[in-house]
């Protein structure tokens, strides 16, 4: 039995590149989704949102597969973290999708109906998209750095 503590892997350039690709995948998808939201074509915005989420999940599978089977990084005991990362990614994607699609529509509707002030919807949309991208990049980057 090897009782020595596990060595944390050094940060490698390809970690950063994959993280960037992963985080960057949100940008075109969300911009497309926001374009449809701008014209209040909510059904299409929702469809694009779903495509982004599924596309990103597939991308994540590719990243994890590449990491494990091509670069041979990390022992099999890291499998739970792989699952955790996938779930985190899915959760983040889903939350962002809800935030910028249906929930946002409901929120905007309620806001207009109940508030004396009128919301600056387009800036809120941009802010949410930007915030989502940054948070995703930070969280996934940190997780990759620590556990892969």
């Amino acid at each position: 039995m090897n009782n020595q503590p596990k060595q944390r892997r050094e940060w490698q350039p390809w970690h950063f590149i994959l993280s960037s690709v992963f985080a960057g995948f949100w940008v075109p998808g969300m911009m497309l989704s926001i374009n449809y939201q701008r014209v209040q074509d909510w059904p299409t915005a929702r469809k694009v949102g779903r495509m982004v989420i599924w596309g990103q999940l597939l991308l994540w599978l590719g990243v994890v597969g590449l990491n494990r089977f091509v670069f041979n990084a990390g022992p099999m005991s890291h499998k739970p973290w792989t699952l955790f990362l996938l779930l985190t990614n899915g959760l983040l994607g889903y939350v962002l999708y809800l935030a910028q699609d249906n929930l946002y529509y409901q929120y905007a509707t309620q806001f207009y109906k109940s508030s004396k002030k009128e919301p600056f919807i387009r800036w809120q949309l941009c802010f949410m998209g930007l915030l989502g991208t940054v948070i995703t990049a930070l969280v996934i980057g940190q997780l990759e750095y620590r556990f892969f």
Binding site: P43, K113, R122
Partner: protein
């Protein structure tokens, strides 16, 4: 006297607020509403909007639904360019995602939109800016761009909606 004036003023403010947020007009009809015939009938599609014209993108847009809890069926969205004003007419040639844009989802959720292969015209009859109620009419062909040859004829279309600042 001041108190009565205050009450009167409050009632006016509330009435204006209700009018701008999915209220009804003097006939009891929703202020934000649209009505149109699809492929000639048999009866008009009548949708309403909770909000009215808003500026999610820079150009103002409005979305109407038959059932406000369902935004994927029986749904119509209209966006007019920023140069909108009374008497302006827009056609399929003005179509762009940052300008004139019309999309319609039928009861099955099939999407039809402006397309260069179908003529469509929307005329704005009333537009006095934020705080007013926009009105207009429209008719023409909307195309399902996913299925070749699938389109719907929209006739006798009318719309009206409160215009918000943002």
């Amino acid at each position: 006297m001041k108190f009565k004036l205050f009450i009167l003023f409050s009632l006016v403010v509330i009435a204006i607020g209700l009018a701008g947020c999915g209220g009804t007009d003097s006939n009891g009809d929703p202020i934000n509403r649209t009505s149109f015939l699809v492929n000639g009938g048999p009866k008009h599609q009548s949708y309403t909007s909770d909000i009215g014209f808003v500026h999610i993108g820079l150009p103002p847009s409005v979305s109407y639904t038959q059932d406000k809890n369902d935004i994927t069926h029986n749904y119509l969205s209209i966006q007019v360019p920023t140069d909108v004003g009374p008497g302006k007419t827009y056609t399929q040639n003005d179509s762009s995602i940052g300008g004139f844009y019309v999309v319609y989802y039928n009861a099955n959720g099939v999407r039809y939109q402006l397309d260069s292969t179908g003529t469509f015209s929307l005329k704005v009859t009333d537009w006095a800016g934020a705080g007013s109620v926009a009105k207009g009419n429209f008719s023409g062909t909307l195309v399902n761009e996913s299925v070749l040859g699938d389109s719907v004829q929209i006739t006798d279309g009318t719309f009206q909606a409160f215009i918000h600042n943002n």
